[in-house]
Amino acid sequence: MPSGTTRRTERNNERVRPRPALAGTAGWLLLLTLLLAAPAGAAPDGDLLDRVLQALARDAPRQLAFTETRDDPLLDLPETREGHLAFEPPDTLVRSIAGPGGETVTIEGRQLVVERRGSRRTIDLDEQPGLDAFANLFRALLGADRAALEADFELAVSGEPDAWQLELVPRDRALRRMLPSLELSGSHGELHHLITVEAGGHTSRMRFHAASEADAPPGAD
């Protein structure tokens, strides 16, 4: 996969000024790292975490449909929407939500593009220091480097290989303040849920199910 630096030189000039970490991006950027992880092919010895990581790297599909439920203290009712998550080698991830309030987010290299109601924002991931830990996580996973992963997150894995839960707590104080924890659950190499709880009680629950070819996201070919 080409490095972010070479990508940078190609990106357009539209820029967004730096602002505090966008915690919401963190959760599913993590997915990107999981989806991108190359099949490790190592023997499934080691502990549960090793086995889960290896299974994910080996089996996680390139495309996932999901149902996201946002439960927000500022809103009267929870909000439920359907969307798609697609990975295009070598380094593009598209998250799209259909419908009138929908949006498409594309991460390509180190650039993130948000398209929503005809408006388009480009964000340099490097300008999002809150996501720095995730960028490191990304690199750590690509390198099959569990040590680097644990340098940025406190990891807690529980359950069995066929029903596991992985909790990630950022070690960075500022990031942890905004994003106290991420919870990922699944069975072998199959993802079931991602639960993100942000400071202030803004909660997102994503439930994954295999995508049918028919309802492929518009962002992916």
Partner: protein
């Protein structure tokens, strides 16, 4: 100084001798004590500038002001990641340094405390707070955006803040505080150069840019930190390098370069001079004895300046010591004339030479007395320094040296090495004198026809900064989008509030100038901390809680927000309406204070606050120079007590140089006339007086014409060298014009002047070989100066018969 008791026995330690030595040593001790206890050497340009009256306290060199306190750091080599890691590590290390006010490398420098402060005061600090921001329509637009933020994977603002700050004022404030026009972040989130090959940092120092000792200390620590961190992170492969730009870094590098070179060449020149004296006198004693008048002169001059001015300026000291080189001639005259056993011993020689030495010294002192009386404090210091120094050197030669010469030499004399002199030197043919006249006329023609006169007013042209360092500074400055070092606007006002109001009032005019293309960008203190008037207006723009709730309810209709979701917002607004206004003194350390401090300077000595308006990308300096009347410019809003001016730092330093030069030339001109009067009064011999003056003027004219013909642009340093030449030439001419009938005495007299000239030539000839432009300028001026002075003085000396006939009066 009392006249010594006349004892021709030459036995040391008679009461008279004791008194002389006591006085001398006591005086030196007093001077040394004064310097140790009260001495203060100032090295920045502040103490050197003329007293500007109402604008006193405004630093005029480019290293002053906010731009001077910026160090620009570049980390090179290694990989982009290694550079970013090094950049972060440097930031951590420098944040702990008490000499650093602020350090940035492109990452947001938000700690919780700074964020909390900004949040708590956002309605006072945000420029968007106007009544229009809180209408139902505006709130409706804001709430719509916030509703999207709640469901977006990439919200425009942290969801955490939405309930408190739906209009996103905290983001507006942060954006304004952290904006750094032009700086580009690279692949690892830190500032990088355009090609990505350097990681960039910006350090703001506590010390003024021209406080070179403090800056040098910080630079040293900075490099140490970098080396330590290099070792810590075990940078493999290619090692990283740290390069530092900024006015202070340049000035420190220049100073170190000058110091090293000056020390080297001073040592070299001293050794050469010692060798010359040893060769001429074939005795070690003249070597150390010759240093005494000069040493005493420097000590006394420094003490006198400290006593009068309270401090001594480094530049005045350096210039003064150069000009005091004349003090070396006095002992040499004494030694040359004491070349054989004489009835009166060395003291008789000293007595015999005194009229000539005193006359030369007094004439030279006249010029410096005139300089000492200027209001240009740097020049006044130099004048006083040289004035006192020459007096002390002459007196030391007259009374102290004779008793310090070892007793076996007191009467025996110091036989000279034979200096072979051709007869025509002693008896120059008339045609030579005519030739000199022709040369001087040609010199006058050269000087008069050279237009414009080749003055060099840019001191930087003589500074020993490598081109590479200048280029580095320019590159870093450009990459970081830093404001211009040359131009700034300065507002002074009795209170901080007035200064802030004035800078607020200027913003629209500057915006217009920017729109017209005359200006790239600008930065002013009220952008960081608004005036209390502006803060008050913002408070008044905030709606009452009841009104706000009602508008929110209507604005949020249909968006799905729960009842009371924005109650934290309503509470914050209500609190902001009653909040105590911010003032400069009350800001906490950190982001806000760091951003404000370089722009808003509290009064130190003077009565005024200074608000700096930094300008970047100035394309139309004329528009700034033609700053219209401040009141007309901004209406009645600028407080009456405030003043506004455009500061062109380079122009200011050039004006300083021009001012010094004009004053020096004027004083030299008046001084020459005064010298003529003095000579006339003392010698009562108009012809001799005119000869002396003609020799001095001829020497100077020929020297200047030579420099012009060599294509040299004349700087301050050439001028200082010319002042030395004036003193030397006066000395030579006075000695040559001594009415001596005795051929042996005339010969001795000539040798004496010749040895003096030779010693000066050796010293300054060596300086002329230096690669340092300052030393080169001195050497290049003094060498032809000495040659022409000697020539003019020798040719204008009265012929033997004329001298005897012209002696109507015994020597004074």
């Amino acid at each position: 100084m009392p006249r010594p008791v006349r004892t021709d026995t030459g036995r040391p330690m008679t009461p008279g001798v004791r008194a002389i030595l006591g006085l001398w040593l006591g005086g030196l001790l007093l001077a040394a004590l004064l310097l140790v206890l009260r001495g203060e050497l100032i090295t920045d340009l502040r103490g050197f500038t003329p007293d500007l009256g109402d604008t006193a306290g405004i630093p005029l060199d480019p290293g002053a002001g906010p731009a001077g306190r910026m160090l620009l750091l570049a980390v090179e080599g290694g990989s982009a990641e290694q550079r970013a890691v090094a950049s972060d590590a440097l930031v951590d290390a420098l944040r702990a340094d008490p000499a650093v006010a602020r350090v940035r490398n492109g990452r947001p420098e938000l700690d919780d405390r700074a964020l909390e402060f900004v949040l708590a005061h956002r309605y006072l600090l945000s420029p968007r707070v106007t009544p229009g921001q809180f209408t139902t329509e505006a709130l409706s637009a804001h709430l719509g955006e916030r509703r999207e933020d709640l469901s977006s994977a990439v919200p425009r603002m942290p969801r955490e803040l939405i309930a408190r700050d739906p209009t996103a004022e905290s983001l507006a404030v942060l954006e304004q505080l952290t904006a750094q026009a032009g700086a580009e972040r690279g692949a690892h989130g830190v500032w990088v150069s355009a090609d990505g090959g350097r990681a960039l940092l910006l350090v703001q120092t506590i010390a003024e840019g021209m406080d070179l000792d403090a800056q040098a200390g910080l630079l040293e620590r900075l490099r140490d930190q970098f080396r330590a961190l290099e070792a810590e992170h075990a940078v493999a492969e290619r090692s990283l390098g740290l390069r530092i730009g900024g006015p202070a870094a340049i000035a420190v590098a220049a100073r170190d370069g000058i110091r090293g070179e000056v020390a080297r060449f001073s040592l070299l020149a001293s050794l050469a001079l010692a060798a010359l004296l040893l060769g001429v006198f074939r005795s070690p004693h003249p070597v150390w004895l010759a240093a005494l008048p000069l040493g005493s002169a420097v000590l006394a001059g420094a003490a006198a300046v400290t006593l009068v001015f309270g401090h001594l300026h480094g530049i005045a000291l350096a210039f003064g010591v150069t000009v005091l080189g004349i003090a070396l001639d006095y002992p040499l005259h004494l030694f040359v004339h004491h070349d054989r056993a004489r009835s009166g011993g060395v003291r008789a020689v000293a007595r015999e030479l005194w009229p000539a030495i005193a006359l030369g010294a007094a004439s030279t002192m006249l010029v410096y007395a005139l300089m000492a009386l200027t209001d240009f404090s740097g020049m006044a210091q130099m004048g006083l320094f040289v004035l006192v120094g020459i007096a002390v050197a002459a007196a030391t030669t007259r009374w102290v040296l004779p008793v310090l010469i070892p007793s076996h030499l007191q009467h025996a004399g110091m036989p000279l090495a034979r200096v072979a002199l051709p007869a025509w030197v002693l008896h120059p043919p008339r045609v030579a004198r005519a030739g000199l006249g022709g040369l001087v006329l040609a010199a006058v023609a050269v000087i008069a026809t050279t237009s414009p006169f080749p003055w060099e007013d840019d001191l930087a042209a003589l500074s020993p900064i490598p081109e590479e360092q200048v280029a580095l500074d320019r590159d870093l400055r450009e990459a970081l989008g830093l404001p211009d070092v040359r131009h700034a606007l300065l507002v002074t006002a009795p209170t901080a509030e007035q200064a802030l109001r004035a800078s607020e009032a200027l913003a629209p005019w500057l915006d217009a100038l920017r729109a017209a293309g005359g200006l790239g960008h600008f930065d002013h203190p009220a952008r960081v901390l608004p005036s209390q008037a502006a803060q008050h207006a913002r408070q008044a723009a905030l709606p009452e809680p009841g009104v706000l709730r009602e508008r929110l309810a209507r604005a949020g209709n249909g968006l799905g927000f729960s009842e009371g979701a924005f109650e934290p917002f309503v509470e914050d607004v209500a609190r902001a309406r009653e909040q105590a206004l911010l003032e400069p003194e009350g800001l906490p350390d950190g982001l806000l204070r760091g951003a404000l401090e370089p722009l808003l300077v509290p009064p130190e000595a003077g009565p005024s606050w200074m608000a700096w308006i930094r300008l970047g990308g100035v394309r139309d300096p004329q528009a700034l120079g033609a700053l219209p009347d401040p009141d007309a410019l901004v209406g009645a809003r600028l407080p009456a007590e405030a003043s506004l001016r455009h500061v062109d730092f380079r122009q200011a330093s050039e004006d300083l140089v021009t001012g010094f030069r004009d004053q020096a030339l004027e004083r030299l001109g008046i001084g020459l006339v005064a010298i003529l009067v003095l000579l006339l009064l003392v010698t009562r011999a108009p012809r001799r007086s005119l000869r002396i003056l003609a020799a001095v003027v001829s020497g100077l004219l020929l020297t200047v014409a030579t420099l012009i013909l060599l294509g040299v642009s004349l700087s301050l340093f050439h001028l200082i060298a010319l002042l030395l030449v004036t003193g030397l030439c006066l000395d030579y001419a006075v000695f040559f014009s001594r009415p001596l009938a005795d051929a042996a005495a005339r010969r001795r007299n000539f040798v004496s002047v010749f040895v003096c000239a030779l010693s000066t030539l050796v010293v300054f000839g060596l300086l002329g070989l230096s690669s340092l432009p300052v030393l080169q300028a001195m050497g290049l001026t003094v060498v032809p100066g000495v040659v022409f002075s000697l020539l003019a003085a020798a040719l204008l000396a009265p012929a033997r018969g004329a001298a005897a006939a012209g002696m109507r009066h015994p020597e004074p």
